[in-house]
């Protein structure tokens, strides 16, 4: 039938899509579609829709303010903001990790039938979580503005650093555990237990100064935890400026060399991401048949 003149100007190549995170970002349009699908499917058929993304963090903020601040009477200044800064980071991480771990199994219809880089799914989970952070950030900004916070450009860059750390770390773990979850569904249950520890491994419902006071020189090991660094960076950007005397608060509650630890955490996250990609590529081949 070649007389019809259909000439294909392309090399003979293996049909399997080139895998890897780079390929994911080369197909940005598809990635955007996947993220949009997640987002619009989530609020389909709900009357309040996106408003829920504001109500949920607001209710949490209220609980922490009331229970921790009023009932338990924590002495930390602007305690609700302190907690909320941590909550934003920790939620972003936990959501990425949990949803990312389940992403491949949940999208098995696509994975089994369509040829596409499978890294798409964990990455899309991360972006969805990032998007959900938006409303929380809006609430946080409004509250700190009401308390007389003035933005500090250097600290705001620190906030972006924190986002980068969590995005990379979350994606790397999501990559590794999403493959593991294909082979053993127990993994997703294990991950949700693991994430419970994350909540308390970061200075969220307790100030960092407490760690410093209790652990002394061991406190530096605490700062090797990238999530703790990210939380502190966010607190530096929003919470510190909302207190009465930011300079004193910073000196008392934020560790010295926080930026150095922040960049170290970024490095750790980058290495983790490389490892995650490697692990994913190693097992990716057997995904369709194991689903």
């Amino acid at each position: 039938m070649t007389e019809a003149g259909h000439v294909v100007d392309a090399p003979l190549t293996p049909p399997a899509p080139r895998a890897g995170l780079i390929e994911v970002f080369r197909r940005r349009y598809l990635l955007r579609m996947l993220v949009q699908r997640e987002l619009s499917a989530r609020y389909q058929g709900s009357v309040l829709g996106l408003l829920w993304s504001y109500i949920n963090p607001l209710s949490q903020l209220f609980i922490y303010w009331f229970v921790m601040g009023k009932i338990m009477g924590r002495s930390t200044e602007m305690f609700a903001v302190h907690v909320f800064c941590g909550l934003i980071v920790v939620q972003f991480f936990i959501e990425t990790f949990n949803a990312g771990t389940r992403s491949i199994v949940r999208n098995r219809a696509l994975v089994q039938k369509m040829a596409m880089p499978r890294e798409m799914f964990p990455v899309a989970s991360m972006l969805v979580s990032l998007y959900h952070m938006g409303p929380q950030l809006v609430i946080l900004t409004i509250i700190v503005l009401l308390t007389g916070w003035t933005p500090d450009p250097v600290y705001l860059l620190g906030f972006l650093l924190a986002l980068a750390i969590i995005a990379m770390l979350g994606t790397s773990l999501a990559l590794m555990f999403s493959v593991a979850n294909v082979f053993l569904r127990d993994v997703s249950s294990f991950v949700s237990i693991l994430t419970n520890f994350v909540r308390f491994g970061a200075p969220m419902i307790y100030p960092y100064s407490l760690v410093d006071a209790r652990f002394g020189s061991f406190a530096q090991f605490y700062l090797f935890n990238p999530i703790a660094d990210a939380v502190l960076l966010v607190q530096q950007a929003f919470w510190v400026g909302s207190t009465k005397d930011p300079a004193t608060t910073h000196a008392e509650h934020i560790p010295d060399n926080l930026f150095a630890y922040g960049f170290l955490a970024l490095g750790i996250a980058a290495v983790m991401l490389l490892i995650g990609q490697r692990v994913f590529a190693r097992f990716e081949n057997r995904i369709p048949e194991q689903l």
Partner: protein, 265 residues
């Protein structure tokens, strides 16, 4: 490494793909099986040393009994899976229906799903917009286009999936179980569209149990038997080889299109 002429569309060279079957999933089951000396897992070869090449514009009918490895072969050509050993090479863009409506999200509307599915098949946003009306017209599901896909009947689901896949500008078109659902007018429309694809010089890879439509659509038949290539050649001989010619009895009334279509179910 062998070089192939520029007219080669698909190369399947000594391809083997095996699957691991795990009989027992939980720890308890595995322990019991180990004590009783039963196998915990088992591997079997879905494809075993399959080789053939396809020229651009050829139209291949892939036949074989259930479980003979047809779908696995199609998934390897589609790129969903990679072979354990051997090589699969293809030239140009691949589109097709490994199963209609794969990846449709039940909560999203038909319209949203068309865009999503088109993106998965490698179409850009502009391309999808340009073709959207054609796709909608082909699917012909009317006002349901704007209601969630989860409420669709299986026929409507398949129509929409087929409509998207068929509008991708592909060089190789794979079709599996295409006509298993859908009513007669739609099947006829699909067959006509596939005939059009074939005439435009695209490579067509068609999996079917219906001798009639294979005879009509294809100019070469490949038969798989337990993962091995059992037959490769002429259409009539191929159909004879799988013994489908005497079962549907359409030898006696070759002009009867009802049987051709009906037998696809």
């Amino acid at each position: 490494m062998t070089t192939y002429p520029s007219s080669t569309s698909i190369v399947v060279d000594n391809v083997t793909k095996s699957f691991t079957l795990r009989y027992h999933r939980t720890l308890k089951q595995m322990a019991v099986a180990a004590i009783k000396g039963r196998d915990i897992s088992n591997t079997f070869k879905a494809l075993d040393g399959v080789s053939f090449t396809v020229e651009q514009g050829e139209s291949i009918g892939l036949m074989g009994l259930n479980g003979s490895g047809k779908s696995t072969l199609l998934k390897l050509i589609n790129g969903v899976m990679r072979p354990d050993s051997g090589t699969v090479l293809t030239r140009g863009r691949i589109a097709g229906l490994i199963a209609t409506g794969a990846g449709f999200h039940p909560q999203l509307t038909g319209r949203e799903n068309v865009f999503l599915n088109a993106a998965v098949l490698g179409m850009s946003e502009a391309e999808t917009r340009r073709k959207f009306d054609d796709i909608a017209e082909f699917a012909d599901i009317g006002k349901f286009l704007d209601s969630p896909v989860g409420h669709y009947s299986s026929g409507m689901f398949a129509r929409l999936g087929f409509a998207v896949a068929i509008h991708v500008d592909s060089d190789i078109f794979l079709a599996d179980e295409v006509l298993a659902v859908g009513d007669k007018p739609f099947k006829q429309k699909c067959l006509a569209k596939m005939q059009e694809i074939r005439e435009s010089g695209r490579t067509l890879f068609y999996v079917s149990h219906a001798a009639g439509s294979v005879r009509k659509m294809c100019d070469r038949v490949i038969v798989l038997e337990q993962g091995r290539l059992a037959f490769d050649g002429n259409v009539d001989e191929g159909i004879k080889f799988v013994k489908y010619d005497d079962t549907d009895g359409e030898e006696h009334n070759p002009g009867e299109t009802d049987d051709e279509l009906g037998a696809d179910i």
